[in-house]
């Protein structure tokens, strides 16, 4: 199965991954080739097989609803490119353009 250029661009947009024209071309070939290899699993009949998302038997691990120590806010914010009043700071996501508002 060969991916179209538009499909590669669509997936890159979903992944919020900025790619150059050359990268898109290369990924179109490489992803198509990898998907061909992956298609080997299509020949297995898995109709009656339950999926395995993880291999351990533990489910829904609970703990008492008690407040415990967490990392100090300053330590967490130390790596932030931009911070303001104890918060991470980001660009406005509303009001600059229609496209931004929908992103």
């Amino acid at each position: 199965m060969r991916l179209t250029r538009e499909e590669v661009e669509y997936v890159a947009a979903l992944a919020r991954l900025g790619l150059s024209e050359a990268e898109i071309t290369r990924l179109q070939d490489q992803l198509s080739s990898i998907l061909e290899h992956i298609a080997a699993i299509d020949k297995l009949d898995t109709e009656a097989i339950p999926p395995t998302a993880q291999v351990i038997s533990v489910t829904n691990v609970m703990r008492p609803d008690v407040v415990t120590n967490s990392l100090p806010r300053e330590a967490v914010l130390e790596n932030a490119p931009r911070q303001s009043e104890g918060f991470f700071e980001v660009h406005a996501i509303l009001g600059t353009s229609v496209e931004d508002a929908s992103s």
């Binding site: 997936v11 900025g18 992956i38 699993i41 898995t46 999926p51 291999v55 533990v58 932030a80 660009h91």
Partner: protein
């Protein structure tokens, strides 16, 4: 008493411990010997992304005080390398990626914390494929690692740095992570012991996430005993990792009895694949024969879905990675390339911060999870994963362990597989099934082919680390492969000429 009179940097952790306890050597002596050797050889090998000289010397001094007070643990004063996907408060953690250049973790990984408590000495952060994605360490954004046995060869990956560190005498033991073979395959290529524990045996807190249902931390070492000692230090439940197991941690060293008579060891024909190098097949066959002569009973087992493990992995792992790596967005930490809008900031930061293999996997995973393809790829892969796991479950009713080659080839030359991603992926064809099933596996040296190490992989049932370590130890005692060391002097001389 030191068993071998060789240089300090040849000692195993158990040997070094005896020298430290007797007072023959101090932790400071040992640490300085390693720091000196790193200075001497690491420009050529590329093992370390960051050498923690000051931390190491301070830890060594503290270890000497503990030793003097008679309060030493098995790893007190032992110089260790940490794969740079393990968070450390006192050194950068980059995951081999430009997107995390300069990042300082506000906390230690649980395994790091446990080694600190033991009094281990941290030599530095070891090189890795970017976000642990790769089989040759050539995907490191900073520099490649060279194989200590032949510097024109790759060390394997993704834990190329930790594997080469132990092989080259640039650390006594090291910690790596294994998502599809990233401990066992480089251990094999570098001729050292590498152990991937059962999923859940070791806490993943502070391990930068690649594929959360597959990732597991484990040790590299120059002996099976050292692997047992290091696993003992890091294994066990962690309330901060809900997937870590409450299963009791046995005494791994006590399991190393040297006696494997009567044990049933499985051989699966599915691990004889096309493209297997004759030198590898021959060394592995000899090792299996040796296990028989040590008293093990060889039993044929069938693992019919083995060939589907690789394609299943290349859906599951990228799918999980695409979600895990969404956190690198230029807002919370790491690289930020500011643009006019938030969306453009995301796209440009990620576009410039991630390398080609990471982008490829994010794309593949995003595609597999996208609307319209989710059932055909992601759910289908999860169902095949069930079949792979069932193959193993059935085998455990007949055998105590399964042996196979760790890789179909010895270490390949740098650059040999970088043009074709799938060729690179095939380097992990024998190691991936264990991750899909969540079972433990240990890789141990079992000979040489073309002057390069060959490795035997021993797989066990969930939480049977003690069993596979016992088999590995019995084999190791019967051979001398683990005592061989690469001759680095020659590598330096040839690069200078």
């Amino acid at each position: 008493m030191i068993d071998s009179p060789g240089p300090l940097t040849d000692l195993t952790a158990a040997e070094a411990k005896r020298a430290l306890d007797s007072g023959e050597v101090s932790a400071t002596d040992l640490t300085e010997a390693y720091l000196e050797r790193i200075e001497q050889f690491d420009d050529d090998l590329g093992v370390y992304l960051h050498v923690m000289r000051e931390t190491a010397l301070a830890q060594a001094a503290a270890a000497d005080r503990r030793l003097a007070a008679g309060d030493a643990s098995p790893l007190t004063g032992i110089p260790v390398a940490l794969k740079d996907v393990l968070c450390t408060i006192d050194a950068p953690t980059t995951a081999g990626s430009r997107i995390l250049e300069g990042f300082r973790s506000p906390y230690d990984a649980t395994v790091v914390k446990r080694l600190r408590e033991q009094g281990a000495v941290f030599l530095g952060k070891a090189n890795t494929d970017e976000f642990a994605m790769g089989s040759s360490n050539e995907n490191s954004a900073f520099k490649p690692v060279r194989n200590p046995w032949s510097t024109d060869r790759v060390p394997g990956g993704s834990s190329g740095g930790p594997a080469a560190a132990v092989a080259a005498g640039l650390a006594v033991v090291s910690l790596g992570s294994d998502t599809g073979g990233s401990i066992r395959q480089p251990a094999g290529f570098c001729g050292v012991v590498g152990l991937k524990p059962t999923y859940g045996r070791v806490s993943r807190l502070g391990l930068m996430a690649f594929a959360s249902s597959l990732d597991q931390i484990g040790p590299f070492s120059r002996s099976v005993e050292d692997a047992a000692i290091t696993l003992q230090a890091i294994a066990g439940h962690d309330p901060q990792d809900s997937t870590s197991s409450r299963e009791a941690v046995p005494d791994y060293r006590a399991a190393l009895s040297g006696d494997i008579s009567g044990m049933k060891i499985g051989i699966a024909q599915e691990y004889s694949v096309e493209g297997m190098e004759p030198g590898v097949a021959a060394a592995v066959d000899r090792a299996i024969e040796r296990l028989r002569s040590l008293g093990a009973e060889l039993v044929r087992v069938n693992l019919p879905h083995t060939e589907y493990a690789l394609p299943t992995y290349y859906i599951t792992a990228p799918a999980e990675a695409s979600a895990n790596l969404a956190r690198y967005d230029g807002v919370k930490y790491g690289l930020a390339i500011e643009a006019a809008t938030l969306r453009e900031t995301y796209e440009r930061t990620r576009g410039e911060g991630f390398g080609p293999e990471v982008k490829r996997r994010i794309m593949l995973g995003t595609y597999a999870l996208s609307s319209g393809y989710y059932d055909a790829y992601y759910v289908k892969a999860q169902k095949v994963r069930t079949l792979i796991k069932r193959d193993f479950d059935e085998a455990w009713s007949k055998v105590d362990a399964i042996v196979a080659p760790t890789s179909p080839t010895v270490a390949f030359p740098l650059g040999a597989r970088t043009d074709d991603p799938y060729q690179m992926y095939l380097a992990d064809v024998f190691t991936i099934p264990a991750n899909m099933a969540g079972i433990p596996g240990v890789a141990i040296p079992c000979g040489f082919s073309e002057g390069l190490p060959v490795s035997l992989q021993i797989l066990g049932s969930p939480f049977a680390e003690a069993t596979i370590l016992r088999i590995a130890d019995a084999y190791e005692r019967s051979e001398t492969w683990s005592a061989r060391r690469p001759r680095l002097e020659l590598a330096v001389a040839s690069s200078e000429s």
